[in-house]
Amino acid sequence: MSALLAVEDLGKSFGGLRAVSGLSFTVNEGEIVGLIGPNGAGKSTVFNLINGVFVPDAGRVQFRGGNITGETPYRVARHGIARTHQVVQPLAELTVLENCTVGACFGRENLPLYRARAVAREAAAFVGLEDRLAMPAAQLTIAGKKRLELARALSAQPLMLLLDEELAGLNATEIERMLEVIRSIRARGIAILIIEHLMQAIMGLSDRIVVLNSGQKLAEGAPAEIANNPAVIEAYLGDPALAASLHGGAPA
């Protein structure tokens, strides 16, 4: 497997605060990589550096072998990286279908409007929003809006998805359904970099996990290794009992 995304020695400061520094990791084709760490560790900043919302102070972002460091978000979207937001960002007055059509029109394929609608419809159905196509996004429930974020990102027909806390704010049933959707996205061959606080879920989903602490990489490895890593337990997992329950691949 070749590296689809390679982040090399990435750094970003806000004033005196070093949000991310010296961070390197890769995501291979078809892989799910989890990005975890305490609040304020710089996880969402890493997403913003990858997709161009922020321009890094140092380091490089390589995608499919090309350098995309500091490119604008709309160029990055065109390369085939789509993302969801931790705080949902619906185009509120547009319908579910229109929201997804925007994703399809301006995503990797740069589709004309009439073809984008068909792709959008399919993506909405994929996440289970097919019966709410004509509903304005503002009227969706929070779980619906989370799904819309995902559907819109999928409409872009990306090679890689950045998922920022897709499970936050969902109840147990909704989480179960969302996990199913994420697994079937992987089954389509789309690589996923996922930020998640729900440990059991991310341990179950990820092929590899990168742990961030204070903007630096604390550890990287398979879920079981991470759950057993003393530094990670101290910095993040905190509770040895929880770590023990995760060890050995607890069900998500």
């Binding site: 997709n51 919302v53 604008t72 978000p73 709309y74 979207a77 065109r78 789509a82 993302r83 937001h85 960002q89 619906p90 185009l91 509120a92 007055e93 547009l94 229109e98 059509t101 925007v102 994703g103 029109c105 301006f106 995503g107 740069n110 004309p112 409007l113 009439y114 073809r115 984008a116 609608r117 068909a118 819109r152 872009a156």
Partner: protein
């Protein structure tokens, strides 16, 4: 098999604008404007409708920035004024025929708008709105001191100017029909933009620019294009309007009141809708006509526009079309 299905769906959805009812609704409006005063040679009706064509043109084009892209352009009148000046100047100083002067005015003003747009479209919200007022004021100050354009005194056209159009009486009709054509073009432009990928991108920007950019909408380019595009037809309307007056001066050409009125119209009719800008403009023109001629209200016309804007923003933010869609959701499919 799925490819075939998609192909059929695509075929249906690609149906040209001409196959949709709204295309013919616009055509009917244009025909009504052209024919109503022409039948029976009704000059009074023509003069009233002439103002309506100008309002509809200004409002429809303002709607592309304000309604679709969500950028509050308080200075949209600068395009109208500059179009008027360019056209009148080329005719008076260089003897250009009306058609050539009009075309040059439209192209020059659109180009200037692109340059302005690339500069000020980095700003958002209140700062963008302030910058648009600034541009209008700066242009007005420049023109007031620009001797080739007559400075503060303005430019006059000799009455002989109407000769090529068959004398003053006929020229007024020609100008009126041309303004109806510019209005019709504005409605079709507004509709074509709304039905296009470009329009979808603009509307996404209007809803949430940061999210739109992450979804891949090239916002800086789209905004600058929209700003420039929305300058072309108002510049033509300005050229015709001041050609008809045979006189142009800075305080008329760059009257911020007209900008504000265009904004009231878009909000009254319903922002982001083609129909709203047209109906809003017509209603507003009628209301204005009534207020100006009424003994009680004549000096309060702008006070009432202001109050109207306030009431709409507070109580009916969707305007007339928003209200109609709320009661008749299928209306969206017929009246864009």
């Amino acid at each position: 098999m799925s490819g075939k299905t998609t192909g059929t769906v695509a075929g249906e959805q690609r149906a040209s604008l001409r196959r949709r009812p709204f295309f013919w609704i616009i055509a009917a409006v244009i025909a009504a404007f052209a024919l109503a005063p022409a039948i029976g040679n009704n000059v009074e009706l023509r003069e009233s409708l002439l103002l309506a064509t100008v309002y509809i043109t200004l409002a429809s084009n303002l709607n592309i920035m304000l309604g679709y892209a969500g950028y509050i352009n308080f200075g949209s009148i600068v395009f109208f004024g500059l179009g008027g000046y360019t056209c009148v100047y080329l005719i008076s100083a260089h003897g250009w025929p009306l058609a050539a002067a009009e075309l040059a005015a439209g192209v020059a003003v659109s180009f200037l708008a692109l340059v302005f747009g690339l500069g000020i479209l980095r700003l958002r919200g209140a700062f963008f709105a302030l910058a648009t007022i600034g541009i209008n004021e700066a242009v007005q100050a420049f023109v007031s001191n620009f001797e080739p354009w007559g400075g503060a005194a303005g430019l006059y056209l000799p009455t002989t100017i109407f000769k090529p159009l068959g004398g003053p009486m006929r020229a007024l009709w020609v100008v009126y029909f041309l303004l109806v054509a510019v209005m019709g073009a504005s409605l079709y432009l507004s509709y074509a933009v709304k039905s296009s990928k470009f329009g979808l991108g603009l509307i996404a920007i209007g809803q949430n620019e940061d999210a739109a950019v992450v979804l891949g909408v090239p916002a800086p380019l789209y905004k600058a294009l929209a700003y420039s595009l929305s300058a072309f037809l108002p510049a033509l309307a300005g050229g015709l309007y001041f050609f008809k007056s045979a006189f142009i001066q800075p305080s008329d050409a760059f009257d911020l009141n007209l900008s504000t009125e265009a904004m009231v119209i878009v909000m009254l009719g319903g922002r982001s809708t083609v129909t709203g800008a047209a109906i809003g403009a017509y209603l507003y023109e009628e209301l204005r006509g009534y207020l100006l001629t009424s003994q009680t209200f004549s000096s309060f016309q702008l006070v009432i526009s202001g109050a109207l804007l306030l009431l709409i923003v507070l109580f009916v933010p969707g305007g007339l079309m928003g209200w109609i869609y709320g009661r008749w959701p299928r209306g969206k499919e017929v009246l864009e």
